[in-house]
């Protein structure tokens, strides 16, 4: 264990926060979505690092599940984006404010 677990976790935290910033700052729905994927990736990195630290596979399995769930989410999310685009011709999330208050 030359590189410490902590380093991996720190890296993952940085990536996670970057992803969160992406969600907050980008207006393109696809971009927001990609930022969320980045957050999930960061969580995966932390999980794998912890899995090596603990020496059991649970963390890796968690990652496996997260990746697959992300695939499902991506499919539905992109379908939603396409559907919205058909109706509104825009995927700018700032234009989605029919309902408020």
């Amino acid at each position: 264990m030359v590189v410490q677990t902590e380093s991996f976790v720190m890296l993952s935290i940085v990536l996670f926060v970057l992803g969160a910033m992406g969600v907050l700052l980008r207006r393109n729905a696809i971009m927001v979505f990609m930022s969320i994927e980045l957050m999930l990736n960061a969580a995966n990195l932390a999980l794998v690092a912890f899995a090596r630290y603990w020496g059991n596979e649970t963390g890796q399995l968690f990652v496996f599940f997260v990746i697959t769930v992300a695939a499902a989410e991506v499919a539905v999310g992109l379908a939603l984006i396409v559907a919205i685009f058909r109706s509104k011709r825009s995927i700018n999330i700032d234009e989605l404010h029919e309902m408020k208050g």
């Binding site: 969160a20 969600v23 907050l24 700052l25 207006r27 927001v32 999330i93 700032d94 989605l96 404010h97 029919e98 309902m99 408020k100 208050g101």
Partner: protein
Amino acid sequence: MAYYPQLVSLIILIPAIGAFINIFWGARLGEKWVGTVATVASALAFVIAVLLFVYLEGSGYEAVVINPPIFDGWIQIPAGEVVIPWQQRVDTLSSTMMLIITGIGTLIHVYSISYMHGDARFHRYFAYLNMFLAFMLVLVTANNFLMMFVGWEGVGLCSFLLIGFWFDKAHGVGWRNTMAANKAMLLNRIGDFGVVMSVLIMFWTFGTTDYFRPAEIVNVHLAEEAAHAAEAAHSEEGAVAAEGEAANKPGDVVLAQEGEGEGAAAEEAHGEEHSTPGVVYVNNDHIETDQLGVFGQAERFLDEGRVIDIGPVQLPFSTWLTIMTLFLVLGVTGKSAQIPLFTWLPDAMAGPTPASALIHAATMVTAGVYIMVRSNVLFYYAPVTSFVVAMIGALTALVAGFIAMGQWDIKRVLAYSTVSQLGFMVAAVGIGAYAAAIFHLVTHAFFKALLFLGSGSVIHAMEHGHHHAHSHGHGHDDEHHGDDHHDAHEEEFDPQDMRNMGGLRRKMPLTFITYLFGTLALAGIFPFAGFWSKDEILADSWVAGFDNNNLAGYIVFIILLMAAAFTAFYMWRQIVLVFFGKPRTEAAEHAPESSRLITIPLVILGFFSLGIGFMNTPSYVLGLDNIFGAHLFTDRLEYSVSKAHASEFNLLIALGATALAVAAMFLANNIYRRSAIIEARRDPLEMLPTTAPFWSLANARMYWDAFYSRVFARPFTRIAYFLSDVVDWRFLHDYFHDVVIWKGFNAAAQGLSKPVDLGVIDGAVNGVGRVFGWLSSQLRQIQTGYVRTYALSLLVGVVLVILVILLPLLQRG
């Protein structure tokens, strides 16, 4: 075999399911399926009843109590730790009732399929019938008074629904039906008040409403063993004494009786043994009082001479018991149509005839008798109540029999006859002849159901005949029958008026024969069923009066004898008016025989009216007891009715009563053969100056209804009018409602709704409201509608949560 008694929960469930199906899907199923579902449900219940009966036969009549799985701990009062279980009891009494209810019920279902054909509410009718069966079975299988009361109220409801079934008939008939239903409901409520009071008193006194508690039930078994042992000892003894009757009944348990034929020594021996075979009290000594049911505790209390402390007064338990049972009797007079609450039953004939046959003749109205016999222990120890009961019963029998002689409506005659016969049963209970009462209940159920169904057949035929006679010419298609279709275009004709009938015996031979059977049974002619049961009541009252020197016995015997004569008279009058002579109207001329679905139940019931009496043949009668066995029914009944006893045949009474009946029939025959008077729509008795006042009295139903309406109903209505008009309408509505509530509320609502109108509360009622309104409008600014701000708020939450949760740990270092 061991699982048979568990079926008793199904016996309720199956008709209930049938009712459920017909209520919800009946309209879609169509007549065929509705009838099938209902009849199959009823028939399945009958099969279960038979299985239970077979089980009881096989298990030595040992009572079984079943806790159906779903209602365990039906009512729980948490503080008092009182649990009223939904327990069902299978013993000889309830088994008898189940057989009658489901058996006759099934026949009536079959009959109804044809009778109700074409009715707009066909499915509803069958749903009600099934519902009635379910509730009636709840009533008779209950093991506590509260559950019994559930059934009691349920059958009352079904009765109400069925009496008012044709509430929308044309020409005011519907209104009359509705009123009849209301009347039944109201009078029964008065009775129900008595039942509720009685049950409450029981509960307060004993802490339970169970008939018997589980501990006792185990004991029944033990008691039976003891009885067997005692029997063995006794039969040896009896053989030596050459006096015992045990030898007559090989293989049967010897039952203790207070018969007149026994020697003093034997009586002494029996005295102790007396209650052993049925229920148990002897062996219950080791049981704690609170482990006993109502009856066991009552006996124990009597033994102990307990004093009941009801606050200001202290009553001996026997007095308390009298009060308790008197309240119960009030309920009985309601449900079983006894004086003073009997006037609803004749009106109840407004319902469909099969329903009348089932509910208002064979089963529901006997619930009062059933519950009195069920609580025979209480009545046994309450002589005052018993006397009252005997008087009520005898008087009812006489009065109703008298009224029946002056009626023209075929069903009304039968209705009063039912009241009268119920009076016989109640009187029998009053003199302690519990077995005879139940026996009469059973036989009466068969022949009265038969008579009602027969009258239904006649009425049906009359309607057809009338219809046929009038539809010549305008070619009305024949598919529409069923009662309410005819009313649309027919006015004056009353198919139930016996004056319109006559000569039907040739038109409807099968109906005639079966009707004749029913009449003979009701009149008590040998060997029909009524003969045996009526004779047993008479013999018992003779014994009670002349042997045991009981005042009630004398009175009951004499009155019942008269009532029996009345019975024979009015029944033969009916036969003559309906079936003999010549047809008096076109309708009678064209009356056809009814369809097979109607006649088959008639034949079956006719057969039973003839034969069912033999199940309780007394000993030493024409050798019949060698064929059918003696006291079979009573013997079985004694396992559940501990104070029941078999009575002995008294040839003199039997002959006398029969002779009286035959004489009355002859009299009736002679009087009513004069058809000319009847064609003038008058009664021959009306023409004779000596009998005219009596006849008018009978025809006017002895002014009972008029009396009630003048004394109770009218003042009540006046008060009600006063209350509704002056107090409610003028004061409450006009002033209180309009001014105080309406205007005040309006003002308040104005105050409230104005801000609502504006959407945001700015003209708010008070400062707090304004503050919240302001807060609300400010806070909703957060909800911008932009996803990114939502995400931002989520992130704020994240940071907040992390900081709050980590704060203590970070402080710790």
